[in-house]
Symmetry: C2
Subunit: 106 residues, 2 copies
Amino acid sequence: MRETNPNFMNGVPELLILRLLQQEEMYGYEIVQAIRDRTDAVIAAGEGVVYPVLHGLEGDGALKSRRRTVNSRSRIYYSITPAGRRRLADLSKTWTNLATAIQTML
Amino acid sequence: MRETNPNFMNGVPELLILRLLQQEEMYGYEIVQAIRDRTDAVIAAGEGVVYPVLHGLEGDGALKSRRRTVNSRSRIYYSITPAGRRRLADLSKTWTNLATAIQTML
DNA sequence: TGCAATGCCTCGAACTTCGATGTATTATAG
DNA sequence: CTATAATACATCGAAGTTCGAGGCATTGCA
């Protein structure tokens, strides 16, 4: 059984990650906390969710990464590509459509 | 790969089914079409989704069913139980919280 | 008589999320 | 100076859903 997030989470991590990276370059560990912080812990995607999504998106060419050392911390920074922006636009639209449809039924 | 609905569908069928049954008694086949119709085909949950969810909800005591023949059609009508109403209230609240959080980030 | 629609059902495939676990390095507290 | 917490990455199996295809039976209609 799931303990933290209920259902309704399918595809959400991907959407939020793309959204965050559209604003600025970030690294995995930072993204995990950013999602938690900016949603007031309503959404909590752990590292076991975020890292695989990051790898998947990079494999699809939606993200690119570069290793950087900041404050003597070695990190892998991800940034969004044009393909990633298109994907984000698509997902955003889809999500809004779906949310609107559901809201109407509620 | 999924052809019809994208992602974002996790738990949505359950939510919509409970919502429909809160208004009136319905049978499986009818629910499949009601979801499609009332969402302008934005959401389409096939029979392969609806029937298992129906059985699951009944198993959990959220729904109860009775066999009825209407217009010489034998149907299994489902109606919501008090437990089902509680579940619907919970799911609705959860969904709204989640949707609000996501909307804020977009 | 044949075909579409109604109505129920189940199965395996595919995909995600989740929590636990592991490793390594750096900062901090005692 | 030493133990512990925090940072940072990663992967694995379990669990839970949705999805499409397929099957079966009956009724309505052409």
